[in-house]
Amino acid sequence: MIPLPQPDQETRFFWDACARKELMILRCNACHLYIHPPRPACRRCGSTDVGPARVSGRGVIHSYTVTAQPVPGYEPPFTVVLVDLEEQEGLRLVSQIVDVEPQDVRIGMPVEVTFRQASDDVWLPFFAWRR
């Protein structure tokens, strides 16, 4: 069984948005820095006025690993990816790439979010090759 997220006060918006098939990232309302994982303050300007902002869901693969042994919820092989979102340099999400053979995954590959249902109320943001 896939380990499901346990949303908390700071992360609930993220998972709620995923269930609506939207990707939202916390952002500082004062200086517009995206903050992930979500923190209740902005590391750049110190503002505590932070809130969810919708992002495009587009990015490129920053790095990846093809896992060849089972982990909870997944049978090998599967490809864990680190995606640089296009909104901000160094803003990254962990995910998996879907519909691409492990040997074809490359750093720099353009990808786009695609949501997959993991349970009644949880949808996970996976990524697909943006050709």
């Binding site: 346990q6 042994q69 909870p72």
Partner: protein
């Protein structure tokens, strides 16, 4: 503020190191602690400080050892929790405590007995909170996966190859062959490396440390007291624990450089020394690539040149900077760097037998990967 006192490591010891020990983790810890205290020609009555990094493994806190060993009382102790560079962090903390006079003689231990019910680091609960909620649902649950993505990025930017990673495994195995305590002593070739199963690319099984049950301990006291001990005192020249501005496995700005860079820079800045002063390096190798990154960030070669540097034999015994002379964690067993500390002490005392680095006077020991790094500089010529 009290005057800082010079401090030295005066005793080292191991328990048995087995793939699967029948002994309890407390038995293993007492065994290592007693060996270290005896090595210093001291008794448990002389110990008045203690530190450990229990981590998330099946280890014990200081109190259990104090109670089990009949140590009458300590004036300083620390069980380090959370993320920390394994056995280096408590060694550095204990050195600070002795230097400040909080205690006179500290015992530091690291015990590792694998939990039979659950592989360490693997999430088995149905719901995952904290920052892991952004990893585990995607099948990203193991440290090997996190660091594999760092290694992959290093390969992408610098042309590091699988052959380079294989050279690390082969080199450390050759060193382990000269270490009677190492659990993996049969030499391997690059072919053996490529034949070992893939865990998570680019890491194969032979890129991963070898899980064992065991414990190691060291005794730290003032330089003044150290002079009366039987062995050459191994002076603590410096020790730094560091992270970077985004201590997060994914948001770390440059995945080709770990906190190893920050810890190394701090160590050289504080000691006024450099890699050029070092005779032997015991660098953390929970995964092969970590050793490569540490060697680069300590300055033994240029950034990005670690792969060719190792493949050319520079870190072999007899090479420019012999590294992981006991076999590291890859072949010497996963004791989370306490074995690296002990090996460095034995090298600097000139007691490393067949694997002795001739004339070794200064050694560096490191622990940690990714977002955390600890570096310790030891010497006998100061």
């Amino acid at each position: 503020m009290a005057t800082l006192r010079d401090v030295a490591i005066v005793g080292v010891g191991y328990s048995e190191i087995e793939r699967r020990s029948e002994k309890s983790v407390t038995q293993l810890t007492i065994e290592a602690a007693a060996a270290a205290v005896a090595d210093a020609a001291l008794t448990f009555q002389d110990i008045d400080g203690m530190a450990s990094y229990p981590g998330s493994y099946d280890s014990i806190p200081c109190f259990t050892l104090i109670d089990a060993a009949g140590i009458p009382g300590v004036t300083w102790f620390a069980d380090i929790s959370g993320w920390a560079p394994a056995a280096i962090a408590p060694v550095i903390d204990a050195a600070h405590a002795v230097a400040l006079g909080s205690c006179q003689t500290a015992l530091v231990f690291r015990s590792v007995k694998r939990n039979r019910e659950k592989a360490p680091g693997v999430v088995t609960t149905p719901r995952v909170g904290g920052d892991m909620q952004f990893r585990a649902p995607f099948g990203d649950a193991m440290t090997s996966q996190w660091l594999a993505m760092w290694a992959r990025r290093h390969m992408h930017e610098y042309g590091t190859t699988e052959e380079h990673l294989g050279a690390i495994a082969v080199t450390f195995r050759d060193h382990a062959a000269l270490n009677a305590r190492a659990p993996l002593r049969d030499p391997i070739t690059l072919d053996d490396y490529f034949a070992s199963r893939v865990v998570t690319t680019p890491f194969r099984l032979l890129d991963c440390d070898f899980p064992v049950d065991g414990a190691g301990a060291v005794v730290i006291t003032t330089m003044e007291r150290a002079r009366d001990r039987p062995h050459t005192p191994v002076k603590v020249l410096g020790g730094e624990v560091a992270t970077g501005e985004r201590p997060d496995w994914e948001q770390w700005p440059d995945l080709t450089t770990m906190a190893s860079k920050h810890a190394s820079d701090a160590l050289w800045r504080r000691t006024g020394m450099s890699a050029a002063d070092v005779d032997v390096a015991e660098v953390y190798d929970g995964f092969s690539w970590l050793a490569l990154c540490w060697l680069e960030d300590l300055g033994f070669c240029e950034k990005g040149e670690g792969g060719p540097f190792i493949a050319e034999g520079n870190v072999r015994l007899g090479g420019r900077i012999p590294a992981n002379t006991h076999g590291g964690s890859l072949s010497g067993g996963r004791l989370h760097a306490i074995s690296h500390v002990i090996e460095c002490v034995e090298q600097l005392r000139g007691e490393a037998g067949e694997r002795q680095v001739e004339g070794a006077r200064t050694g560096v020991v490191t622990a940690g990967g990714g977002t955390m790094g600890g570096a310790l500089l030891l010497g006998t010529n100061y």
